[in-house]
Amino acid sequence: MSWYLSLPLIIPFIAAITAFLLRHSALGRWVSIIGSGLGLLASLALMSVVLDAGVLAGQMGNWPAPFGITLVADLLSAVMVLITAITGFAVAIYALGDITERQEKLGYHALFQMLLAGVTGAFLTGDLFNLYVWFEVMLIASFGLLILNGGKEQIDGGVKYVALNLISTILFLTGIGLLYGMTGTLNFADLALKVEDVENQGLLTVVAMMFMVAFGVKAAVFPLFFWLPAAYHTPSFAVSAIFAGLLTKVGVYALIRMFTMVFDHDVSFTHTILLWVACFTMVIGVLGAAAQSDFRKILSFHIISQIGYMILGLALMTPLALVGAVFYLVHHIIVKANLFLIAGVAHKLTGSTEVYKIGGLYKSAPFLAILFLIPAFSLAGFPPLSGFWAKYIIVKATLDIQMWFVAFIALAVGLMTIYSMTKIWAEAFWKPHPDGIEPELKTLQNKTALLLPIAGLAIMTVIIGLNPEPFVQFAERTAAQLLDPSAYITAVLGDAS
């Protein structure tokens, strides 16, 4: 059974190694695509098993928990692994049309698969120190991708990114050390049981705050977000799409995992801070986006504002709010990655991502305009697209517990999101190109490879939007598991505990 858990990790590793050894031949890119495809199948298999079993745990190397490394997939992990594989597959195809031969020779595909392995590992691990290791795998791979064949701008963004992430890592490690000192374990399930017996509950809250800051940097919440807009607009479009979709979400996932399972001893303190963080993140992100005029910078700031919604779901800690957070995570990854992919096509057609310098896409490439409208409207929360349901659930959760002000902020931020999306729409799509260029999709090289993943992700957005019922039911089951981790603990530690 445990191979269901390890396969989504082993496949990207094998693909990374093969792609690296084949980096000088054209086969590398196909290895990457086939690897991502197989990874997708493996995560589908994992999903179907977890849907039946509820929680699936496996002890790597046969060392029993809490001593060895446990891989655990509950519904949240399984859905995150699946969505990672979907995004990875889409971006692997897109890379055919976006990544230059020079970048391939420097090992793009290997780094990309390594990144997927790191992200998947972070979602699957049931051990805090192992989570740190996966963060490092992710950080190294993403730094490589950021600066691959880059110039000054890329290195500038990359250094800011790494510097802040290293600070987060130090805090994370310190927190791990302190937590281990207090409880003698780092296994999530075991921690969930043992934190209650810690004598010094005040110190536990301090450690909780260290984790909040560490994961907050990764998730790019207010006031720790500034590395994100400094870095995300610099690399290749395929790279920034996978970053936008997945990297910050690992931080959100870690926050959700730790602050529902381990650090729920002082909810009124920790989760109130999270609530404020969430509100500020939403507002600052959306205001920052309004001030930008670069396609990708606008989108980068929107990542931040959307992260706020997810943290808000976690901060409220009611079943409905967690449903919203989970739903939001899934919806956001698909939509955001897709918007970055579209930005790449727009760049190839018009020659820039600066929205005031481009235009005319609606007239010359109407198909791309439709493909943009779907994720953009979804992001802004138009019914009947996926973003509407995500926002609706979160706002309803705030109204249910009479947090009128928070509900107001969430709605106002949604409204301002429309403003930014309209800006991109009006400038890049509607207005004629200032240089009189009429870029047509026909002229694109590798048109299929670029448009197929975009269309696929857009269709998923529409499907989730038109038929949200099964997804909401799934999110409800996930939220129930988060609020009552007993099934998780039993699966990891056995019935004896």
Partner: protein, 139 residues
């Protein structure tokens, strides 16, 4: 640097370091040593050689591209973990083979852990060398 004494000494030293690295790799399971330290020592051998004779000669002596060595090492380490599937165990479960085991002694124990260590050895060797060679060439 073109010193005959240094080149002659470096050749001798590189060989000794490589032999010593293999010894370190093999004793690693129950005593200090192992793939990581072995790989570092082997890399030192090649670095000494590169300083004395130039990186071009050192690359020739290495025969393979250091990056590819690291990649292959990662593959071998992964294979050591995946091997467990043939015995129906979980990922990375150590598999042991005792050659000539009797009731009193365990004979010669061979394990998948050693394969993992060889993988680590190659990863460290390849990674350290690709960094030092490119630094050396950039200067």
């Amino acid at each position: 640097m073109n010193s005959v004494i240094l080149i002659a000494g470096a050749r001798l030293q590189a060989v000794l370091l490589l032999v010593f690295s293999a010894y370190m790799l093999l004793r690693g399971h129950n005593a200090p040593g192992g793939g990581f330290i072995g790989g570092l020592i082997a890399a030192t051998g090649f670095v000494v050689y590169a300083i004395a004779c130039g990186t071009q000669d050192a690359r020739k002596a290495l025969r393979f591209d250091p990056g590819s060595i690291a990649g292959a090492g990662l593959g071998i380490a992964l294979f050591a973990g995946v091997m467990a599937v043939f015995w129906g165990d979980a990922f990375f479960t150590g598999q042991w083979l005792f050659i000539g085991a009797t009731e009193d002694s365990k004979g010669l124990p061979l394990s998948s852990v050693l394969i993992f260590d060889i993988g680590v050895y190659l990863v460290v060797l390849g990674a350290v060398l690709s960094i030092t060679f490119s630094l050396e060439e950039a200067v």
